[in-house]
Subunit: 201 residues, 2 copies
């Protein structure tokens, strides 16, 4: 009982992506090569070209999958805290940064310079992954806990800050953002609190 018709290999495209994700976690993006992927899949070095036009497309597909995984983590984190906007925002942000640290190579692929026009599907998935954050902000506004400013702008502000923490942390290990003993959770929590309450007097 096979979903899709099994040609020679069966489901090579998905197999390649799964292996690529493995190799990415093992050796980093720098060491990821189409030929290694093909070898581990047990196919010839040119088999991947039946399913992807070039390496760039493989990376785009990996990035897409990354946004889906990220969305799952974030959603799970949100559902595990009380129905409180502040706490939910903090939980979501912590999940984002933790994902970045646990899958740093994956995040790197997700945010590598990408031609948005070339991979509309990737852009779509990445934005749908942000919708959850938007909803959070929106319901915070409805409950009167957040300002009634432009919801999109507020969402993007939070995203930028959280992503900034993630990007810096992934780039430099140990991250210059936290002073040794502090945990990621605490740092993110502190930053988000600053953002919610403001830095000015």
């Amino acid at each position: 009982m096979k979903r899709m018709p099994k040609y020679h290999h069966g489901d090579l495209r998905n197999t390649l992506l799964a292996i690529a994700t493995e190799l990415l976690a093992e050796d980093g993006v720098q060491a990821l090569s189409l030929r290694k992927i093909a070898q581990r899949a047990g196919v010839s070095h040119n088999a991947p070209y039946m399913h992807f036009p070039d390496k760039d497309a493989v990376l785009a597909a990996i990035a897409e999958e990354g946004f889906r995984l990220l969305a799952v983590d974030v959603e799970s984190a949100i559902s595990q805290v009380d129905d409180n906007i502040r706490q939910q925002l903090i939980a979501a942000s912590q999940a984002y940064v933790k994902f970045a640290l646990n899958h740093s190579s994956h995040l790197q692929v997700m945010f590598r310079p990408t031609d948005a026009a070339k991979y509309p599907r990737l852009v779509e998935v990445s934005q749908s992954s942000l919708n959850r954050l938007f909803e959070l902000v929106q319901s915070g506004q409805e409950k009167g806990e957040l300002k009634s400013a432009d919801t999109h702008e507020m969402t993007k502000t939070i995203w930028a800050m959280v992503h900034g923490v993630a990007a810096i942390s992934v780039a430099y290990k140990p991250t210059p953002l936290l002073p040794e003993k502090t945990s990621v959770e605490d740092v993110v929590s502190t930053f988000i609190t600053f953002l919610l309450d403001g830095l000015a007097t």
Copy 2:
């Protein structure tokens, strides 16, 4: 009158770095190769290895230079506005993001996964580049315009947010952060204002 003794080529190390920066701007980081750098410098393909242990070290040196250039831009932007903390923070942030957009490949090298222990000099330069922001926050606190919370934490919060805008903008063009007509300046200004004043009611 030469500062350093001129051996065969003269000042190959700096020449290589300058050419690398050129090529980076022309073709992006993906296409940057030691052999192309050497060729444009008019030396053999192995000459660079006299001055850098490997390609990674070249990229680290490029990153270092990037932080110096960034610091210059930021400093210049600050000096061009009134002696007002808010405006100075906004100007510095705008300069940061504009640098990122104008030298996107360079920024990519500056924030690519880097072993901090391997390149202490790079870490040093990158942090000294942040000192200016720290000073800004500090003087804002002295003037009573900013909260008297931990200065380092506040500085890092601003940095994370600004870098997040930069990283996202560089990764996806056109950036999903601004809705078509808006300018980078306006977006950054809006975000920083949110951060200063808070998102909560």
